[in-house]
Symmetry: C2
DNA sequence: GCGGAAATATAGCCTTGGCTTCATTGCTGT
DNA sequence: ACAGCAATGAAGCCAAGGCTATATTTCCGC
């Protein structure tokens, strides 16, 4: 700084903000994989690595690596050459993520975003929506549905 | 899949969505650094690595590496032991990112998110807001400001 | 002018999350 | 029963983005 630091606390707030965004991003992949594995189990009865990879738009080894991380974090289990299954914790996460995803899409649509665009943007957006923001979204959808 | 692939195109749409989210994330850091360097130049007349690192909440070598990537992408220039400067392209990006950031914060507040929370979440959210969504946000803010 | 402190650069390490290539296993049809 | 193909696993490469530790340069006060 050119002068004697009149903005030390502002700098701190900036740092805090970026730090939170990085933290959110760090769990984004786990969230998406958990949600998707839950979807596949519900739709097809099982979640195979090949299906996971296809839906994520990545190669099988990449999906396998992600599954390994899920297992390490206690969110999934799997036996060699068998499918992938969510643990209790994984299922809970999947359900939460799915619900949040839907609310984010609905809010985007409610404020005028085209449906297709809302679906696309929500996939990245959702991971940065805090519980407070999610609550505000719910409230908004509720009151705007009621009184129109 | 258990049966003969009735959802091939749905799988494709999923993959497309995740692919877009990954692409957005890949440029998020460049966007934040560009915006911040622009801010520092406007506020202090120059952007030093130490200040950039402090605001990003990161160590100096990390900031230096990010600046190296900015230079590689043609968004910034710098001479050893001197400050960092945005190129024409970098300045354009910074301005665009700053404007988008503000609109995202404003929209969050407009739908009922507490101000402080809006500031925090926007830092991560913004990078996944497409031009279509941004346009919808602008429109919403405009009409809700006009007719209340 | 110079010496010490602060800023900057450099080197090297780690994890994440992509990829390709190749080995191994499972499944399925004849 | 088994041959061959599909699915999975294993190994190893790369870039991004974080870190620590150390070297170098600049700057400022005296
Ligand atoms: Mn997502
Ligand atoms: Mn999602
Ligand atoms: Mn940001
Ligand atoms: Mn921002």
């Amino acid at each position: 700084m050119s002068d004697d630091e009149p903005d030390t606390d502002q700098t701190f707030h900036h740092a805090e903000r970026f730090s939170r965004a990085r933290a959110a991003q760090a769990v984004a992949l786990l969230e998406d994989y958990a949600e998707m594995i839950g979807d596949l189990m519900a739709e097809a009865g099982e979640a195979r690595v090949a299906d996971i990879a296809a839906r994520m738009g990545v190669t099988h080894p990449t999906a396998t690596k992600a599954v390994a991380r899920l297992k390490r974090e206690g969110l999934a289990v799997s036996r060699p050459y068998r499918g992938v299954f969510l643990t209790e914790a994984g299922q809970t996460l999947a359900d939460h993520v799915r619900a949040r995803h839907r609310i984010v899409v609905d809010l985007l649509i409610a404020v005028g975003v085209p449906t297709e665009t809302a679906e696309l943007d929500a996939e990245g957006l959702e991971h940065h929506v805090s519980t407070q923001t999610l609550a505000a979204f719910k409230q908004y959808l509720d009151t705007s549905r009621r009184g129109d």
